[in-house]
Amino acid sequence: MALTRSALRLFSGRFTQACQVRGYADAPSMSLTFAAPSQVLYNNISVKQIDVPSFSGSFGILPAHVPTLAVLKPGVVTIFENDGSTKKFFVSSGTVTINEDSTVQLLAEEAVPVDSLDISAAKELLAQSQSQLASASSEVAKAEAEISIEVSEALVKACE
């Protein structure tokens, strides 16, 4: 009995708080700028959700997400647009900034639509990078080969 009463109080408290602050349902949708040095994919377009792969874990960004910075890992960015369609892009690296006013800047070094990826070329790249790692002599060369492997593995995974 006491449990349910306290549970009710908790629930009503949160309910009133939600009424004071606007609920997530009508938060302003976020405006996305997704660009690479040589192309613009989205320029201040309002979208529903963005899934990004980052070094601190893959996460999804909804409107009113807490502001943060993250560094992108090679992987697939999924964008859920307002009309319900989904677009996937493979990014090699970059940064994502989520600001207080719900603007998101997704700056990728290279971004390609997943449909234009060729799985055989990706597998070839993976094999090449692995042989590079085997023959790498210096620390720098080893690190570069490891980066190359990471990207090609992500590429192969994106194609599947």
């Binding site: 502001p67 993250a70 207080e100």
Partner: protein, 291 residues
């Protein structure tokens, strides 16, 4: 025969004088025509390069503006510190492009005069030549082989990597470049550059969730490369459009010179002919009266 040779000798000396002037004018005329051809072809080449550069700039603008957003939204300010100022001056190796390089050089000089504790990273030979004489000590690094081919992100990454590897420390920083406005105008602008500690002490940084120094370091390094790339693209477009205008003016001036020289040439030629005729006629008249 004697009379003819007698008539010829004074003619020769007059003619030598007249012809030398004629020859000099025609040599000058030929060289100005060549120069006009060269400037016209340079104008065509820059026009083609400008079109390409402007197209690439349009695609790079959202990327460049997006890279600056964080620093504006987080209200990052310059550090209060004594580590000095870092200026990255963007120019190129090639001249004949109007005021593009000299405007950057002028601002760097004024800045160094105001704060002597300034280090300059120069991209492109032209600004290095401007600063070499008086401020060689302030030059930290020079990047050459710039301007022949359009810049790609990899170039900016190489420059950013060298800056990071050199371990330059600064409290204030800026990137100086020429922002492209229209075909006939550009504006020398500065983009602020913030050190890692300036970012860490930003007033709105606590708003940003789950940040550690690793993320801030990677973020600032990547955004240095992005900002450098964007400023290189803008500068390249301004340079090509400025060169186009400069070469166009040069061709027009050369055309005016050619017109003036042609007039002088024709007048001199007619004067020489008239002189010859006068000599012949007066010589013949003298012979006649003698007879």
């Amino acid at each position: 025969m004697f009379s003819r040779s007698a008539a010829i000798i004074p003619q020769c000396s007059q003619q030598v004088r007249g012809m030398a002037t004629l020859k000099m004018i025609s040599i000058r005329l030929k060289s100005v025509k060549n120069i006009q051809k060269i400037t016209q072809s340079m104008k065509m080449v820059s026009a083609a390069k400008y079109t390409k550069a402007e197209r690439e700039l349009k695609l790079a603008r959202p990327y460049g503006i997006g890279s600056q957003e964080f620093y504006k939204k987080a209200e990052v300010k310059d550090e209060e510190g004594e580590k000095g100022q870092l200026i990255i001056a963007i120019s190129s190796d090639r001249g004949l492009c109007g005021a593009v390089h000299s405007s950057i050089g002028r601002i760097v000089k004024a800045d160094i005069a105001a704060n002597p504790n300034t280090k300059v990273v120069i991209v492109g030979d032209k600004v290095r030549n401007i600063l070499q004489r008086l401020y060689a000590k302030n030059i930290a690094m020079v990047v050459t082989e710039v301007g022949r081919k359009p810049a790609v992100f990899g170039d900016a990454a190489v420059v950013a990597q060298s800056i990071i590897n050199s371990g330059i420390e600064f409290s204030k920083g800026k990137i100086l470049f020429n922002a492209f406005r229209t075909v006939v105008s550009f504006r020398t602008t500065e983009m602020p550059l913030y050190s890692q500690s300036a970012v860490a002490n930003a007033s709105k940084l606590p708003v940003y969730d789950s940040l550690d120094s690793d993320v801030i370091q990677s973020y600032t390094e990547f955004s240095l490369a992005s900002l450098l790339f964007y400023s290189m693209k803008e500068n390249a477009t301004s340079e090509q459009s400025s060169r186009m205008t400069a070469m166009d003016n040069a061709s027009k001036n050369a055309g005016e010179m050619i017109d003036k020289l042609t007039m002088t040439f024709n007048r001199t030629r007619q004067a020489v002919i008239t002189r010859e005729l006068i000599e012949i006629i007066s010589g013949a008249a003298a012979l006649e009266t003698k007879n």
